[in-house]
Amino acid sequence: MAVNLKQLTQNEDLLAGGHRACAGCTGANILRQIMLTAGKDTVMGGATGCMEVITTIFPYTAWKTSFIHSAFENCAATISGVETAFRSLKKHGELPVQREKMNFIAFGGDGGTYDIGLQSLSGAMERGHNMLYVCYDNEAYMNTGIQRSSATPLGAHTSTAPAGSVKQGKEQNRKDLTKILVAHNIPYVAQTTPYHWKDLATKVEKALAADGPAFLNILMPCTVGWHFDPAIGMELAKEAADNNFWPLFEVENGVYTINHKPKDPGPVAEWMKKQGRFKHLFKPGNEHLLEASQAYVDSEWKKLLKLEAMTAE
């Protein structure tokens, strides 16, 4: 499979303009990129969250494919129902229009995926539905006002774990959801960012071609929650892959491939400095938190290299 930029630009844009995303939002961009690859024979399901709220408000919808939202924690289960209905109606010869295959894509933010929707996601993946789950990970509950989630990195300021005179933002490292999904032994799991359009399109293509469930974790720089100039969202996405904060990798039937191995990753602090959520970490006395952030990124990267070597055929 080779992604062709010219072809992508000619595909119909299935997320209409006029949606209500913030200026500089990289999430709507992620959805557009997914839809350019997935095409019209797709049913999208959204968990309650930014991307659901910005794409639908009655009587308007930005979706040019069918779309369903029911609640916050149940997007995977809901789409698993849609996918099963497709299989059953097809088996009974009762589809409204004949299709050999359709794409079923559920998406949720990190709150709806790492936290409240984890059980629903795990169940759907284990059951083996032909569906893709996409997490747009902006590392906090942005839609409800930037509360911490289990995807929020160490030290980040959020409204429920704020930096104050005693505490310095989130006190824990984020959890590794992508590896939790790998542990489901599903055919395809990957991480990417919206900056890496070719990587993203390739991964969507592979995920949709997989025989069974697939999962994509996509880092989504959020201008509001991360506090950065709306112009530099894509830059931050690129740098997160360059400094190993958010490695681009995929796991195909258990085999790890790192898609981007930066020659000189450089300090994560340089990237953090551009984001208001980490501002307090650069005050004297908080050096240890910057060191801990770097140590976490380094150790996770080393583990990833080992996993790639270990699973190489």
């Binding site: 024979d41 809901t78 789409i79 849609v82 099963t84 209905a85």
Partner: protein, 391 residues
């Protein structure tokens, strides 16, 4: 119509009824005493007697969520639950009704925790009485089966398009072998018919958006249009029930009226306890006591005008609730019934009974009738009374 007389548990009877509707999808999670119903259904699928696709989810929340996805895709869909399972579905139970998805659900009534108790009462479905589903109640396996056949026609009728739950008492009905008449498969299928979804997510040539953000400018209108469906539902329930009577000889309405014609005193209740009451009513009738029973079948929509008419002019009415409304003015059936009777000079009092599966026995039914006699003779009684509890 020739019907087969069989001996089945309530759970088995409902599993057969649902199978006869040829649903495309079933989603369920195990909870006592609903389990046996899904076991039976899974056997049908494993043996090729049913082509339903089953989604064996990891929780009831996901069961209802998957059912919503399936129904929104245009598939005939059912689920089944009890007690805490229904409570876990809570949020999405409302969504199923709000999206006007005609899902059918077997609701095997069981007490809610805590403390944990697996036996019958109606606190589970009663907690969800305002969620927007239609609630049909059953007295025995026959009625559970019949309601489970009719449920599809009611739910899927274009004037209704609402989910329906078929309530039957945990263990008392679900696990008791009972004699019932079953329709042959082809006759049941002819009665229920094929489901034609009005909208589907699965037509790429006609995409739809389901469940959008809906704020101050439209939400209220959408709720109003939803409310209108409950106004239309009673006529459809009666129409479907009449067609069913033509087919089977078994007649249903909003309630069963037992020895009501000349009754001066009436008991009102839901579910399996009706059988016990009928026995005791028969005894009292032999002694010349004019007592009867109104066994409600449709709790939602609540047939208030019907009740006001049927109960009007009686000397005393009492309502038996198998669930409590903590801090409220009696059980849900009592408050609804008394409200329906507003403006009439009929004394209405209530009981809470049978919580957590406490037996409702002949003596309790007799106590109820003795109290009715006192009230009919001008005596006083508390609004809310307890039956069968150690004080």
């Amino acid at each position: 119509m020739e019907q087969k007389l069989v001996a089945l548990s309530g759970n088995e009877a409902v599993a057969y009824a649902f199978k006869q509707a040829r649903p495309h999808v079933a989603a369920a999670f195990p909870i006592t005493p609903q389990t046996e119903m899904m076991h039976k259904y899974a056997e049908f699928v494993a043996n090729g007697e049913s082509t339903t696709e089953m989604i064996l989810v990891e929780s009831e929340h996901s069961a209802m969520s998957a059912a919503i996805g399936s129904a929104a895709a245009g598939a005939r869909t059912f689920t089944a639950t009890s007690s805490a399972g229904f409570a876990l579905m809570w949020e999405v139970v409302y969504i199923a009704a709000s999206l006007r998805l005609p899902i059918c659900m077997a609701m095997v009534n069981r007490a809610l925790s805590g403390n944990i108790n697996i036996h019958c009462d109606h606190s589970d479905s009663m907690g969800g009485r305002d969620a927007g589903w239609l609630h049909l109640f059953s007295e025995n396996a026959q009625e559970s089966y019949d309601n489970s056949i009719m449920a599809w026609r009611i739910a899927e009728h274009m004037d209704v398009r609402l989910p329906v739950m078929v309530n039957y008492d945990g263990f008392i009905i679900s696990h008791t072998a009972d004699a019932l008449y079953m329709l042959p498969d082809d006759a049941a299928w002819k009665f229920i018919g094929k489901y034609n979804a009005a909208y589907t997510l699965l037509n790429p040539e006609k995409p739809i958006t389901v469940g959008p953000l809906d704020l101050t400018d439209y939400y209220f209108e959408h709720k109003t249009s939803q409310m209108a469906a409950y106004e239309k539902a009673p006529a459809i329930i009666q129409q479907v029930s009449d067609e069913f009577a033509d087919l089977t000889g078994r007649r249903y309405g909003f309630a069963e009226e037992y020895k009501l014609d000349d009754a001066e005193m009436v008991m009102v209740l839901l579910g399996s306890s009706a059988g016990t009451c009928k026995d005791v009513i028969d005894e009292y009738r032999e002694k010349g006591v004019k007592v009867g029973l109104l066994k409600l079948r449709t709790f939602r929509p609540f047939p208030a005008a019907y009740l006001a008419k049927v109960l009007g002019g009686r000397k005393a009415v009492c309502v038996l609730d198998r669930s409590a409304s903590f801090g409220g003015q009696g059980g849900p059936l009592f408050t609804e019934t008394r409200s329906a009777m507003y403006g009439q000079q009929v004394p209405v009092h209530g009981y809470i009974y049978g919580l957590g599966g406490r037996d409702f026995d002949l003596r309790q039914a007799a106590t109820v009738i003795e109290n009715l006699k006192k009230v009919a003779a001008g005596g006083e009684i508390a609004d809310i009374n307890l039956l069968g509890v150690r004080l």
